[in-house]
Amino acid sequence: MKAEAAVRPAEPASSASIPLTGNEAIARGAWEAGVRVGVAYPGTPSTEVLENLSDYAPSEIYTQWATNEKTALDMAIGASFAGVRSMTSMKHVGLNVAADPLMSQAYIGVNGGLVVVVCDDPGIHSSQTEQDTRLFARFAGVPVLEPSDAQEALEYTRLAFQLSEDFDTPVILRSTTRLSHTRSSVAVGERVEQAPKGFIEDPQKTVIIPANARRLHPKVVAREAAVARYFEGSGIHRWEKGDRKFGVVTHGTAYLYVKEIVPEVSILKLGSSYPLAENTIREFAASVDRLIVCEELEPFLETEIKALGLAAEGKSLFPRCGELSPELVREGFAKAGLVEAAPVTLNETVENMARPPVLCPGCPHTASYLALRGLGARVTGDIGCYTLAAVDPLRSIDTTVCMGASIGNAVGIALSGTEKRPIVATIGDSTFLHSGIPPLIDAVYNDVNITVVILDNHITAMTGGQDHAGTGRGMRGEPTYQVNYEQMCRAAGVDWIRTADPYEVGKMYQTLREAIVHKGVSVVICSRPCVLDPVRIKGAPLEVKAAGCVACQSCMNLGCPSITWSDETYEGRNKVKIDPTTCIGCTLCAQVCLSDCIQPVTA
């Protein structure tokens, strides 16, 4: 560990100011810090970090999509071992997957600087859970930096690499949806190349066997104190002197809301919640009459501050669940008596309508789930665009847990012996590669009766269309080896494998029927590209010949957003019509139409 004085916040050589989102600023900061390897698995709201990093010259940075967050972190760790600066980025739940290497690397430390960007999603805009990564940082004993805007995102990213090397530790840079996707002006600097150090042979450090781990653990504890000391004097925590009656401790985006609502109070803005700047907090607390902690999600700082024996208020004022907003922060400070409650003369919203996201017109997943719906199967689901088939009108998924869970869940249901229906696991191509292969091995190993449906739309669609090992392309479009799912399943021991085209509704249904009567594990690969990525597919639209429409609503069951009711009715039910501007001509609706009235548009 180097002398603490060596660490200084990176100063941007303010050559220019450009508007950047938080994610763009993180990528810029990493580039400026001389990062050489960037690998990640996509996940909202973190995806654009690596996408932006790959905009820089390949000669400067190698970037690539990883199979999952754990392999991404493993690769980044490898690059760090080999002596270059490396980075991985993921959404909060990605860190659950990458937790194992993170815990070990916290002991091992780094050679080249290693930064793990984790984007939390307060408010669950697009996730399965709401998690506070600061808890993970403390759990692993890894310092966490928490920028509040894009400028800080850039500066903290540079600092993170420096800290990582100076204190021999991986560093977590924590963003949130709000920061990641807010654009503001950022003073940028230039890239500072880092001389590669090469691999350093030091097995006592790099091989984490019990004997070494027992020696390394106390180092983690000592490092916690050292980083905390550094933070105390570094300027990363900012004390903004104000009204001494109220002192607000805050962090990240919460700071911005505090400045918006109660700009006149004393503020201690922490650039990091872990390791805790105990002395600064004590001093700050002593200087004010009443201490309030305003933080997003968990009462992390509040608990720590109370453990210091200081009186503080926090979650009694601000919500623990959901994203903070200026309104909620105002409400909290109003409760504390600092400000007036919001004016009540707001325009009431009128009666609202739910608008849940839907599968695209022509989405191949539609047909796969329509067929499953007809089979009356017990369907375990997974995470991806296809999760949208869990709601009406398709409503054909019984469970969704986390990425890769579908197959294991199906095996468990089969093992329970209680399920009378055929058991079908449904999983997207990217998710299958991410974490679907080990449970497929379990399925065969346990010789259960299940069908696995791989929804292969040739892309990672949900997160905006990223390539993966099954697409045959790398993230810069370069050709790579393309994983062969059939061979992979065969190697796992599956002997009944069929590939079907979901656009052939009848055949798809028949294939699934055969699959579920097969004894043992059967696999159906539904192969048909996503209509949005990598290329937008738009064929000639179809139309409903209204005279023949009997308003049975069979086509409405696809949930295709191009199909809606028309003003005409048949026996009191609305007939349907198709919006020609959005219909892509997939013919799924025509195939399910019982009166054959959906046909190509005729002049």
Partner: protein, 301 residues
Amino acid sequence: MSAEAKRAPGAETAGGRNILVVGVGGQGVIMISKVLALIGQRRGFEVKQSEVHGMAKRGGIVFSHVRFAPKVWSPTIAKGEADALIALEWAESLRWLDFLKPETGVFIADTRRIVPPFACLNRQQGAVTAYAKATPAEVVERISNAYALDASGIAAGLGDARAANTVLLGCYSVALDEPLEHWREALDLFVPKAARAINHAAFDAGRTWAEAARAGTQEVPTMPALFSARGPAVKSELEINAAWCKGCDICVKLCPERCLALDKKQIAVLTKPDACTGCRVCEWLCPDFAITVHQTAVGAA
């Protein structure tokens, strides 16, 4: 109804602006937000533009907060603090009303309706859509600075309905004392080359519309009620002849409402009578003519 008594859009706040742009995935919410952000920057303000677009690609809700002022802290606008709400779709305009500044907030919305499949879930005879009910006339009545226009129609008239977002931007532009050239330059940065001409035309059309609205010569567009032409209300009943049913399962599999099942004796039964719409699919498909749908008219048309 004329807009006579109204102030010009957004003329009330000197200096910075809080503008909330909302719509549905694919409509171009982010594009006009970027233009507005750039205009704010040109005026020498600090600018923040914050969006949530995770579900944008799949027809979900998209919203973008644009704030510019000498100093901007919060990335999002607080409820009741928006100087303007620009909505690219009708139901979305209603969702965000409470963000508008009471009294002075300007409401600009396209009357276009994008009806999600979700709004058509109840297919019972005589059922109505779940699409938002409020009409432009009602909103214009409630909000003092409300402008509703058929921006999509205007854009379509110019050659491409997708330029509706730019029509609305042009409409809002009269609220900011900014030379036309600046708007054009900003637009050109964010629209593809091939679409520049149509976007300029759309912008001008929006601006012209707003100037006329200022002068009080624009009518509030009327919106026809959705899916209004209903037939006479009918009540349907299903008769299943158990003796003829051979348990082939066809009706069970193809019932659009999933309201049939086979019982222990492998005979079709109606398990969810409330869900049955009387669509006759089972009647037509039964190979053994075991199902009959009876419909009786209830009340007048």
